[in-house]
Every structure is written in C-alpha cells, then in structure tokens.
C-alpha cells in the first residue's frame, strides 16, 4: 500500500501538470478534474501539498483572482520549467507504460508459448 501510494504521488503530479497546462485552474477544480479521471480518493488536502511543492520548485506559478464564493482564489499556471517537466513526465510515462504493458499482456503469452515448444 505504501509503494502504491508512492507511485500514485508521482502520477498525480504529472496529471496535475497536464491539467494546468490545459487551463489555468484552482484547487477545488483540480480535484474535481482528477476525480473525473478516476482518482476518486483525492481531496484538496492531498492536492494542496503537491501544488505547494511544485510552486516552490518553480514548476508552476499562481495568481490570485476574485472568486464568486468569497476570498480571492489562487489560480495556477505552468512556467517554462513546468512545461519541460511535463514533457519529461509524458515521455517517461510512454516508456513505463510500454514496459508494464509488456509484462501484463505479452509476458504471460510468451511463457505459455515457451512451455508449448
């Protein structure tokens, strides 16, 4: 469970960067988008520390805008560094997915055909 939450943390970061690349967004909207994508367990409490760290590293930046609900909202957008990080994440994900798919889909077929020889 610990390892899968570590994996989830890395993937969440990449997904958050992708969402922010598509549109300027704020915390609650980010969470709703992630939930729509299947990350049903995420809350603002789990997303906020991630965006905090990303902002501290200069990967995203923020601007406060008026909110219909009360205090000003922080809207996040990607920086140039963030665009590089996202590109690296997407490239890494493609390779990782290929490797994992091999073991999930092709490896067992290979084992069966080896046994039948």
């Amino acid at each position: 469970m610990g390892k899968s939450s570590q994996m989830l943390k890395g993937l969440l970061e990449g997904c958050i960067l992708k969402i922010i690349q598509e549109k300027e967004t704020y915390g609650y909207e980010l969470v709703e988008d992630l939930k729509q994508g299947g990350f049903t367990e995420v809350t603002e409490g789990s997303v906020y520390p991630i965006v905090l760290r990303l902002e501290k590293k200069g990967i995203i930046s923020s601007i406060k805008k008026a909110s219909p609900l009360g205090p000003k909202r922080k809207y996040y957008f990607l920086t140039d560094l963030g665009r590089k990080e996202l590109t690296q994440f997407l490239e890494g994900w493609v390779i990782l997915k290929q490797n994992v798919d091999y073991f999930i889909e092709d490896f067992s077929k290979k084992e069966v055909s080896d046994e039948n020889r």
Binding site: T43, E44, G45, R53, K57, R73
Partner: protein, 291 residues
C-alpha cells in the same frame, strides 16, 4: 476535550505565566535596592519581562484574529485551521510561506464550508497528515539540529544584549565599550535555556498540537521552564555547598567572564548568528530537493 475549550485554557495559562513573570520582575527590582546585582541576571529578567509582555500582546492579538475568523469559519473548521497553523508555526518554514499557507488553508476551508463539505471531505481523514505534508512540501521538517542552531542564536543574542546593557551603564571609552563582564552562572542558565529548555518546549508542543491534552500544554508552558530554572538553582546551590574547593566549580558558581575582549569577537558573534539563518535555509532547501 474540544479544541475550543483547550484554546481557552491555553490563553489562561499564557496570561498567568506572563503576569507571573512580570510580578517576579517587580519583586526582583524592588528587592535589589536600586543596585543591580548582576548584568547577566538583569538582562535575563528583562528578556523574561519583555517576553511576558509580548506574550500578553500576542495572546490578545490572536484572540482578536480568532474572533474575526469566527465570522468566516464555523467552529469545527476553525479548530482544524488552528491545529494546522499551530503545526506550521512550529516548523522551519520561512515567514512569507507561513503567511501564504495561512491564507490558502483559510480559503480552502472557507470555500469547502460554503459548499457544505465536511472537514474530512476537504482535507482527508487525517488533519495531522495534511499538516505534516504541507510542512514537508516546503522543507519545514524540524529536527534537533535546527533546534540547536536556533538555541545557539538565542544564546549569542543574549551575550550581545548583555554587552549592550553593560555598555549603557557607562560610556567611558572604546576599551570599556568592548568589554562586558557577566556571572558565569547566568551564562550557564541561559545556555541551559537556549540549548535544552527551548528545544524541549518546541518539540513537545509539536507532539501535542494534534492531541487534545491539557496536561501536555501545562508541561510545555509551565512545568518545563519553571522546573528547569528550579532544578538549575538547586544544582547551583548543591555545587556551592559541596564542591567549591574544585576550581572549575568555584569559577562556574561565583566567577565572572569577560566577553567581547575585542571587536573581532563581537563581529564573529554577529556572523555566527547570521550564518545560523543561512544554514537553516539550506536545510530547508535540501529537504525540498530530496522530496
């Protein structure tokens, strides 16, 4: 015990301590017949007095802030906000980031409250985990090294204050300006406070922030400081009664130390204090880098 009730007890305890320190100061100065027995003790009492007044002002200011926040947040959300911010205040995060976090968490909870989401729906099941992950995200994890660096800064700051206080007594000449003599026992007491008592208080406070424990608060705010000073006085009394024939002990109990024999030493102390801030900042950035 509800956190709201705990906060009331915390306010009462803080006010009692602050007032007690002021009373002790008044008794001390009244007893000494306008003759200050030791620059070190005097500076220590003045620091305690200033801290007592600052604590009273801080408590009143925080209560006013709390009253303003109660206009925005319902008590159950405000309790969570207070717990998170108490943890953040004790961390190694810089002042600007702390202010940003305060604003963000308030906004987060307020909008969640307006949507009628529960605290668990907003922050997750565990407020402590949320607070820890926030401070870790900004490299704010505090360890004993950071406490000791801060302790060194307090201690050196105390020595500088002694010099300033001693110098105000007479402005004779350059050599007088650069020399300050103080009791070794006062220096040792402040060293104990800087390197042991204050780190212990902050560590215990961090551990009890999320537990609703009045005993924990009383240990932090009363038992540790008072116990430490009493223990120190008992120890010095025992040393005076039994080991004065030992030169080191005699120096420790009755001796005086001339600090700042040159301006170079003064500059060195200022550089060490400034370096402490740089080192803490470096530790913070290393923590962020390693996440």
């Amino acid at each position: 015990m509800k956190t709201g009730k705990l906060n009331i007890y915390k306010v009462i305890i803080q006010c009692v301590i602050a007032l007690s320190i002021l009373v002790l100061m008044a008794v001390y100065f009244n007893k000494s017949d306008n003759q200050l027995s030791s620059t070190g003790d005097t500076v220590l009492f003045i620091i305690a007095g200033v801290l007592a007044v600052a604590t009273l002002v801080y408590v009143l200011y925080k209560n006013r802030q709390k009253a303003q926040k109660l206009k925005i947040l319902l008590p159950e959300y405000l309790d969570v906000y207070d717990q998170v911010m108490a943890h953040v205040e004790l961390s190694n995060i810089n002042v600007f980031d702390k202010k940003n976090i305060a604003s963000d968490v308030l906004s987060l909870l307020y909008e969640g409250q307006l949507r009628k989401d529960s605290v668990e729906e907003i922050l997750g099941d565990d407020v402590k985990s949320f607070a820890l992950s926030v401070t870790r995200a900004l490299g704010g994890k505090v360890n004993w090294l950071i406490h000791e660096i801060s302790g060194l800064q307090y201690f050196l700051g105390y020595l500088l204050l002694i010099k300033a206080a001693d110098n105000m007594d007479s402005m004779k000449g350059l050599s007088s300006y650069l020399n300050a003599t103080v009791d070794n026992s006062s220096i040792l007491l402040f060293a104990v406070v800087s390197f042991i008592v204050i780190p212990l208080i902050f560590t215990l406070h961090q551990k009890t922030v999320f537990k609703e424990s009045l005993m924990g608060l009383m240990s932090i705010y009363i038992a540790i400081p008072v116990g430490a000073v009493l223990l120190f006085r008992v120890m010095m009394g025992a040393l005076k009664n039994n080991l004065m024939h030992v030169t080191f002990v005699e120096q420790l109990v009755d001796g005086k130390w001339t600090i700042f024999s040159s301006s170079v030493v003064l500059l060195m102390l200022l550089v060490i204090i400034a370096t402490g801030f740089v080192v803490k900042r470096k530790i913070r950035y290393n923590q962020i880098k390693n996440i």
